[in-house]
């Protein structure tokens, strides 16, 4: 194990000419050491390959779930029906677009369109977060919320669990709880995609109490001004509100 630590440092730390010479001399003169280096690199490659297989399985799940490829040529009729539905949808869309849209309606559409199901993690193994996601995707929001809260209790720093707990609370119309979780997300500045503000705005628009729409609007403006996660959506909503 000591050698593994030493071998890993060689490949991951900043290069050092003296250490490099020493390391490579050892490979050339000590077959047992060279074998350990070969094992380390082989294990890394095999582990990478295992990760690729897990990812492919995960992609397959997503693909099946979304039915992206659609039916074969023998089922063209479905396409025609879908096309008819799209045209009908467009007519309805234009009709509803020209009508004014309330914040609550916008939020409802977002929740029903984007928060119907949540993406599962890669591992494919029984892990607490995944159990919560499964419960959520089955529409068992109360149980999902309990599961996410259990995870948060064991590790208060877990961003994803808080995000999902907030979303589950939102689905249960426990708006204050949802807001509390989404507010907690704001502290995770290091994440590239932090949906804290857009989710707070959605929650306020859903709650629809006096003053909520104005607060949501302020949040949307902040998202646009600071170029945060959900900027395009915030711009679109600001135009409609």
């Amino acid at each position: 194990m000591d050698n593994l630590d030493y071998i890993e440092s060689y490949f991951t730390d900043e290069p050092d000419p003296v250490r490099t010479r020493e390391f490579e001399n050892r490979i050339e003169s000590d077959p047992a050491f060279a074998e350990q280096v070969a094992f380390y690199l082989s294990a890394f490659q095999v582990s990478g390959e295992a990760a690729r297989i897990v990812k492919k399985e995960h992609f397959k799940e997503i693909y099946k779930k979304n039915h992206i490829a659609g039916p074969g040529p023998v089922r063209k009729l479905v396409y025609y029906m879908a096309a008819a539905a799209v045209v009908a949808g467009m007519v309805f869309g234009i009709y509803t677009y020209v009508k004014s849209v309330s914040p609550k309606q916008l939020a409802d559409r977002y929740v029903n369109g984007h928060l119907q199901t949540l993406g599962v993690t890669m591992s494919g193994r029984s892990d607490n977060l995944q159990t919560g996601l499964r419960l959520y995707n089955e529409g068992r929001y109360e149980e999902a919320l309990l599961q996410f809260e259990k995870i948060i209790r064991s590790d208060t720093s877990l961003f994803t669990a808080k995000e999902y707990a907030g979303i589950a609370a939102l689905r249960l119309k426990e708006y204050n709880k949802a807001l509390s979780y989404f507010e907690q997300l704001e502290i995770y500045n290091g994440l590239y995609a932090n949906p804290a503000l857009i989710l707070q705005a959605v929650t306020l628009m859903e709650r629809n109490q006096p003053g909520d729409a104005a607060k949501a609007k302020q949040l949307l403006k902040r998202i646009v001004d600071q170029d945060l996660e959900g900027k395009e959506l915030a711009q679109e909503w600001l135009r409609k509100l």
């Binding site: 490979i27 690199l41 997503i62 693909y63 590790d155 961003f159 959900g230």
Partner: protein, 196 residues
């Protein structure tokens, strides 16, 4: 549908997200996968592949692109769509060739590790020779025999996750604890592999 963070991004934003570290990087991979998933249908119509074959070509395309984007081999001279379609097209042609020549799948991982390339020629050839003699199937089998946590940890490591990221994902106290545990798992894998 995607989770809450799924909004529509342009190429640059997608690339930026894929290159950033963090425990949510899987979400950006899913976004990339979903964005061009209609290629699967094109593989079926333009290359007469079955849906499974076309899906394989597409998921391999995404995995190759992820690697190239992350190690900066993708220079964004073409749009992401053009770049991915080129890879996808080549994968489809490879599949068709394999189908006609009845080649068996190769079990050895295809790409030479970037880490191996860090060694100078002489040392690399010594190590490469030993790696060529490795029983890759056996090593994979032994990796599968490790307990869940160990296997997950090594899989994340093989996917270039940092110890800090692994700590967040597998709920370890910190990166140092992950490193110690990971090297112990690697040692265990080695013992299993040597015992045959």
């Amino acid at each position: 549908m995607d989770s809450a963070g799924s909004f529509h991004y342009n190429d640059q934003e997608i690339i930026k997200q894929l290159r950033q570290s963090g425990i949510d990087k899987r979400r950006s991979e899913e976004q990339l996968f979903n964005r061009f998933a209609y290629f699967v249908r094109e593989g079926m119509t333009k290359h007469a592949l079955s849906e499974d074959e076309s899906f394989d070509a597409y998921s391999d395309t995404i995995l190759a692109a992820l690697e190239n984007i992350r190690n900066e081999h993708f220079e964004a001279r073409a749009s992401l769509k053009t770049y991915l379609y080129q890879i996808f097209h080549n994968k489809c042609v490879d599949l068709l060739r394999k189908r006609t020549t009845h080649k068996n799948s190769v079990h050895r991982p295809e790409s030479i590790s970037d880490r191996l390339m860090l060694l100078t020629d002489t040392a690399r050839s010594v190590v490469q020779k030993m790696m060529d003699q490795a029983d890759w199937n056996l090593l994979r089998e032994k990796l599968d025999q490790l307990e869940d946590k160990c296997r997950q940890m090594l899989t994340y490591w093989g996917d270039n996750y940092s110890d800090k990221e692994i700590a967040a994902l597998l709920r370890y106290k910190n990166a140092d604890v992950v490193k110690t545990s990971r090297l112990r798992c690697l040692d265990r894998l080695r013992n299993l592999y040597k015992a045959k």
